[in-house]
């Protein structure tokens, strides 16, 4: 599989604080990869590094074979990296349509933008219904769809999603995960899914990485990770002695 995104030995510091300690990870074309870890494990920093919001002290970031380590966020968006920020962050006082157009800021092909706008409205009928409504008045689930739509408007090949299920009801969480899988399947966009809820993320991802204190401590296929006793203890909330027991009941 050709790697679309490659992080190679990336080090990031916040002042004296060593936030990422030589991480290496890849996302293949059209793949869903999940990045797991607890609070302050370096998930968000990894995402910020990929987007160019944080500049690494060492290592390289390659996208589509090109070195983008020193590229600006804007250049990366043009190259095909889009993002769904943590807590969605739609522009609250802009309408749904304006939010989508803001997502296409880096593009100049009017006809293409219009075409994609139609495509996204088709894909998310809710957004088409509410096109003139201010984004701040949408429900949490609708805002999440809008954040997906906004990211798709730049015609990305990779979308980085920072905890897209955060703050949503369990029912909506399932919907959002289905939606991510659908975007990936139907539009062929690769997804890097940053999540705290390992089980959910791994249910749609093909592979996963586990971060702890700024280091990748585990990686592998989703099934493998789900079965890993260490993961079960640390991230799936299963106590060591009951792990076997719950496996048999399941």
């Amino acid at each position: 599989m050709s790697a679309l995104l490659e992080l190679d030995d990336v080090h990031v510091y916040y002042g004296p604080f060593h936030a990422l300690r030589g991480n290496t990870l890849t996302v293949g074309e059209g793949e869903i990869v999940s990045l797991l870890g607890g609070n302050a494990s370096g998930k968000s920093t990894t995402m910020k590094t990929i987007l160019g919001l944080v500049k690494p002290k060492g290592g390289t970031v390659r996208f589509d074979g090109r070195d983008v380590t020193h590229a600006s966020t804007r250049q990366r968006v043009v190259a095909g990296i889009a993002s769904v920020p943590e807590a969605r962050r739609v522009f609250p006082q802009m309408t749904v349509d304006e939010n989508l157009l803001a997502g296409a800021f880096t593009r100049k092909d009017r006809a293409g933008i219009q075409e994609d706008l139609e495509r996204i409205r088709e894909h998310f009928p809710r957004l088409a219904e509410r096109r003139r409504q201010e984004a701040g008045t949408l429900s949490g689930g609708e805002q999440q769809m809008l954040a997906f739509g906004r990211a798709l408007m730049s015609r990305p090949r990779l979308i980085c999603m920072d905890e897209p299920t955060m703050g949503l009801s369990p029912k909506l969480v399932d919907q959002v995960l289905d939606e991510i899988a659908r975007i990936n399947r139907e539009l062929g966009v690769a997804v890097l899914l940053v999540e705290q809820q390992a089980e959910l993320a791994l249910s749609i991802a093909s592979r996963g990485y586990v971060l702890a204190s700024g280091e990748i401590v585990l990686q592998g296929g989703s099934r493998e990770l789900l079965d890993d006793p260490e993961i079960q203890v640390a991230y799936l909330g299963k106590a060591t002695d009951t792990a076997a027991e719950s496996d048999t009941t399941a």
Partner: protein
């Protein structure tokens, strides 16, 4: 009534133009851009120069002025505001305040400080409604304003860049993530805002018929109040705020006379900040999450000063200076001592409590006037009047500022600026003439008229002040106040009533400001309201920031450099203000902790 309303709308139209620019920049940068205030004065002066001196036709001069203002605006952002973007908005705000002083005074050096008659371009009084005469000129200005507003709103609604501006002001981080070049958007906003400021400046000159380089700050503050009234960051709000304030002001002048203008404007500011800090249309807690100064200015460890330095400094100040220096040096030294006293007292508010009050001229003025009245009218001796005026300043300033301590973020700085301005405006209303014949202090009946005697008195006051400040710093009280300054949320969570402690710190600072004011009054023997300007407040702020906002003795260093050195080097007043501004910008940019503090 109708004539007052029309007069209000005509003025409001100018405020609206200025307010839109202020709101625009605030939206995308979260910074109150004082530099923009200068474009009101600068726009008018540049237009005057183009038309009168260069003989350009108005319709050519106007676009030229707008382009020049836009250029200065861009320069301000690139050189001063953008580099500070990663710090707190407060740092950038202070710097723009300094830029505005520099621009005003550079323009004064270039064009002279006089009021210049601004050429009449169109008839100004060919219509009449009731007692109000207005002209084609006013209608054309109103027309242009409306065209500008409509163009602006279309641009923001449908333009690609306009949309990027709105996106940036609603969520900067998200804007960055969708690939909007936020720095570029900020540059564009500065350019637009500065050009609008220049346009408003030209309009003011056309409206009042004169142009003056220093008129910018005053008009700018009014435009700023208009923007706050409408809701900072909201452009529709800015327009509404501009017209509402224009009308309020017109009716205020109609009922209370012209001197009530400033009081009305700043009363509106303070009421808005307390009752509805988000303004009429803004989202309510705009910048409430922003930490206060404590975490930025004055951070880092102060240099260790060996113990023997203090007695040596005292000997130099008390023995060497009087022996070596003549009357001129002693008079200058006295000024240094007075400002050092005011500054040292101010470190408790600005440093420990983390409230960078921008209106210290207010309590200084109260102290000066109290002392003048107590000695000339009540005939109290100087020695009684001195502490009493400090007390009066502390009490009055505390009462007037009591409502503002709940105000968050750098709004509190602006609110204190408002309180200071109101205090001086009220004094001007009550004593328009100034007070003469303020007596020298006396020693058992002998008046101490020599500069040496006065120098030594002020030295004594400074030493007492430093000791008191040092004791407060090290006391339990000082530590509680410092906890409020460094992390208000944490302090409140630990049961500290942050509001009360900020108010207390301010009262202590106001006491020393009042004492300083009293000393100034007895040195000058004559006072009038023009002494206690916004500039004086800026000077006090610069003095403490230069040495280290947390260090009482830092204020002594600041005062020696900014008052003493400037005077002894015979800098002209305009040049001095430019130096103050540059010092403030450079210190905030490169040594935010102050000169006596190691960079962390």
């Amino acid at each position: 009534m109708l004539d007052t309303l029309i007069a209000g709308l005509l003025r409001g139209n100018i405020y609206a133009l200025g307010a839109v620019g202020i709101s625009l920049v605030f939206g995308v940068m979260n910074v109150v851009n004082f530099a923009q205030f200068s474009f009101f004065g600068l726009g008018a002066m540049l237009a005057w120069f183009g038309i009168v001196k260069l003989g350009l036709p108005f319709w050519l001069a106007l676009p030229l002025v707008l382009v020049m203002c836009a250029g200065f605006g861009l320069l301000t952002n690139v050189a001063v505001v953008r580099p500070l973007a990663k710090y707190l908005p407060l740092a950038a705000m202070l710097s723009t305040f300094a830029v505005s002083q520099i621009l005003d005074n550079a323009s004064q050096v270039a064009f002279g400080a006089n009021f210049r008659a601004f050429p009449k371009v169109l008839p100004t009084s060919n219509f009449r409604v009731g007692n109000l005469a207005f002209g084609t000129s006013d209608l054309v200005m109103l027309g242009i304003t409306i065209v500008v507003m409509v163009t602006m709103s279309l641009f923001l609604k449908y333009g690609r860049i306009g949309r990027a501006i709105r996106a940036t002001s609603q969520d900067q981080e998200a804007a960055l993530q969708v690939g909007i070049p936020v720095a570029g958007v900020q540059h564009v906003s500065f350019v637009i805002a500065s050009a609008l400021g220049g346009l408003a400046g030209v309009f003011i000159a056309l409206y009042v018929g004169v142009a003056n380089p220093s008129s910018g700050l005053e008009t700018g503050l009014v435009a700023f109040v208009a923007a706050t009234l409408g809701g900072l960051g909201s452009l529709v709000g800015a327009v509404i705020g501009g017209f509402v304030l224009g009308v309020l002001e017109a009716f205020g002048i109609h009922f209370f006379g012209d001197t009530a203008r400033e009081i009305i404007v700043f009363a509106v500011l303070i009421i808005v900040l307390i009752v509805r800090p988000g303004g009429l249309l803004g989202r309510v807690p705009l910048i409430s999450s922003e930490p206060l100064t404590g975490t930025f200015l004055g951070r880092g460890r102060p240099f260790r000063i060996p113990k023997w330095v203090w007695p040596i400094a005292l000997v130099i100040a008390a023995v060497v200076v009087p022996l070596v220096g003549g009357d001129y040096v002693l008079t200058t030294g006295t000024q240094v001592l007075i400002y050092a006293t005011i500054g040292a007292g101010f470190t408790l508010t600005a440093g420990q409590a983390g409230v960078l009050a921008l209106g210290q001229a207010g309590p200084i003025a109260i102290g000066a006037y109290s002392s003048a009245l107590l000695t000339t009218v009540v005939h109290l001796p100087f020695w009684v009047a001195l502490p009493v005026s400090g007390l009066i300043a502390a009490i009055i300033a505390s009462i007037l500022s009591s409502p503002i301590w709940g105000v968050k973020g750098h709004y509190i700085s602006i609110a204190t600026l408002g309180v200071g301005t109101v205090i001086v405006a009220v004094i001007q209303l009550v004593f328009p003439q100034g007070i003469y014949g303020i007596p020298f202090p006396d020693w058992f009946g002998t008046p101490l008229t020599s500069p040496l005697a006065y120098y030594l008195i002020d030295l004594g006051v400074l030493v007492i002040t430093l000791v008191v400040m040092w004791r407060i710093r090290r006391s339990h009280l000082g530590k509680v106040i410092a906890s409020v300054g460094s992390d208000e949320t944490a302090a409140v969570a630990s049961g500290v009533r942050a509001r009360d402690y900020k108010a207390l710190a301010f009262a202590v600072s106001a006491f020393f400001a009042g004492v300083g004011g009293s000393l100034l009054a007895h040195q000058y023997t004559y006072i009038d309201p023009t002494i206690f300007t916004t500039l004086m407040s800026l000077l006090v702020v610069t003095i403490v920031i230069m040495g280290g906002v947390n260090l009482p003795y830092g204020a002594v260093l600041g005062s020696i450099v900014l008052i003493g050195a400037m005077e002894l080097l015979r800098f002209t007043p305009e040049l001095r203000i430019i130096v103050y501004g540059l010092v403030l910008i450079l210190v905030v940019r490169f040594r935010p902790g102050g000169l006596l503090v190691r960079n962390s």
